[in-house]
């Protein structure tokens, strides 16, 4: 019995057991053997917790871990090889779903950017409306331009159904755009102040001198009829004067960029930079409570006293 117990211990799992020789085992009773074995185990555990066995465990475990990693990687490769066709189909389907989702999200981004742009314009227009509370406004989108390159007109999506009438001034948050020239039920044509047949009575700031603004075939605007005795500087502001009754007063038009003054001329003229970008008009405001004054009866007619 004792011999068989010693044999078991000689084949034991613990290294400490190897130090116990066959002769020694025969001298100890099973109780002592158990106690010694327990003490050895406890000692090993204490040593392990204290970290003294780390180099030893590293020496033993490293090859085991390497071997396990090798086996695991090979197994995973085999598993992937056998299950790949199914995964590719799933991945393709998933890829298609994600691509569709990306396309949808891109469309949403474009729509949101457009809405943001419109929101910014509307916000600026609201600021303008707050700055001029005496007027009533109708917002309109620019839907086109006159097909003829010889005139400067835009089409807006508001017409007589929205109480738009001929002669109403049109503005943006920056300043004066023009006035309504032709109205249908759901649309209207706006004559821009850059049109070659337009003349607007303006006032210069800070000199408060009166002048006449005129458009041109190239879309540039200029000032004429500036009195010779007025000192005009580049950078002076140009606003509507309200004279003639076609436009409300004090609406900003632009800034003077250059002056042409000749000693023998009756008046000075000037070039002007408009505050409104007429090539990128998107949304405009129509001033609906401004009544243009018809001064034609006051204009003297030849032959009538």
């Amino acid at each position: 019995m004792l011999a068989s117990g010693a044999q078991v211990e000689a084949r034991g799992d613990f290294c400490g057991a190897a130090f116990i020789s066959y002769d020694m085992k025969s001298k100890f009773s099973p109780l002592w053997q158990t106690i010694i074995l327990s003490l050895v185990i406890i000692g090993l555990i204490v040593l392990a917790f204290a970290g003294y066995l780390t180099p030893l465990s590293r020496l033993i475990l490293s090859p085991l871990v390497s071997a396990q990693s090798w086996v695991s990687s090979r197994f995973q490769a085999l598993q992937a090889y056998f299950s790949e066709p199914h995964d590719v189909a799933v991945l393709r389907q998933r890829n298609a779903e994600l691509e569709a989702e990306v396309a949808h999200l891109r469309t949403q981004i474009i729509e949101l950017q457009q809405q943001l742009s419109e929101y910014r314009i509307l916000s600026a227009l609201l600021d303008f409306a707050r700055a001029y509370p005496e007027y009533q406004y109708v917002g309109a989108s620019v839907i086109g331009r006159d097909p003829s390159p010889f005139v400067k007109y835009i089409q807006i999506n508001r017409g007589s159904d929205d109480d738009i009438r001929r002669g109403m001034p049109v503005v943006t948050q920056q300043g004066l755009v023009g006035r309504i020239s032709k109205v249908t039920a759901s649309a209207a044509l706006v004559q821009l102040i850059t049109d070659p047949s337009v003349t607007v009575n303006v006032r210069l700031e800070p000199t408060r001198a009166e002048a006449a603004l005129s458009g041109s075939i190239t879309g540039d605007i200029g000032l004429d009829l500036i009195p010779q005795d007025v000192s005009v500087q580049a950078g002076d502001l140009v606003l509507t004067s309200g004279l003639g009754g076609n436009y409300p007063p004090n609406i900003l038009i632009g800034q003077i960029t250059g002056i042409r003054s000749q000693d023998y001329a009756l008046f000075q003229s000037a070039s002007l930079q408009s505050v409104v970008d007429f090539t990128h008009l998107e949304i405009v405001l129509v001033i609906t409570n401004f009544e243009p004054i018809d001064v034609s009866p006051l204009v003297p007619t030849p032959g009538i006293p």
Partner: protein
């Protein structure tokens, strides 16, 4: 029937002209796709409704433009008449005729428009008009002439199929 088809075609073209092409100028000139379609249609051999199509085109363009109705009407009808005359002489090379009439038609249309605008009181420096509007417009029209001719030819072949004797 063929005249009725011109109404939706020119409606779409007028919208395209007003909303898109007018916003894509070269200097200050723009392409006139309606004019090109009128010319290309009149150049088709089997077409018998060229004048009716140009009438519809003139009315449509007159509706969206501030210029008087008479300007596009006279312009398109005149160009169509010229096209019908030229078709008799250059019938073997219609694409060449397309370029020639586009050149003449654009200048005629612009001259008429400029005349009416200047009668209305606008100051038009003629050299500026030529440099900034007419020549760029002419360039754009000549650029679009060949593709427009090809599309209109297909439409004409569809509406006027070739008669085959059995």
């Amino acid at each position: 029937m063929v005249v009725l088809i011109s109404i939706p075609i020119f409606s779409v073209l007028t919208i395209l002209q007003s909303a898109v092409l007018s916003r894509m100028p070269l200097l200050h000139g723009t392409a006139d796709v309606v004019l090109l379609v009128v010319i290309a249609w009149a150049l088709q051999e089997r077409v018998r409704t060229a004048l009716q199509w140009s009438l519809v085109a003139g009315i449509m363009m007159g509706y969206v433009s501030i210029l008087p109705y008479s300007v596009p009407l006279v312009s398109y009808l005149g160009i169509t008449g010229l096209t019908l005359v030229i078709r008799r002489y250059i019938w073997k090379i219609p694409i060449l005729a397309m370029f020639v009439i586009t050149l003449i038609g654009t200048l005629f249309n612009h001259s008429l428009s400029a005349l009416v605008v200047s009668i209305g009181g606008a100051a038009l420096p003629w050299l500026n008009v030529l440099q900034m509007i007419s020549i760029p417009s002419l360039f754009l029209n000549l650029l679009l002439a060949a593709p427009v001719y090809a599309v209109v030819k297909d439409i004409a072949n569809w509406l006027y199929p070739e008669e085959i004797e059995i």
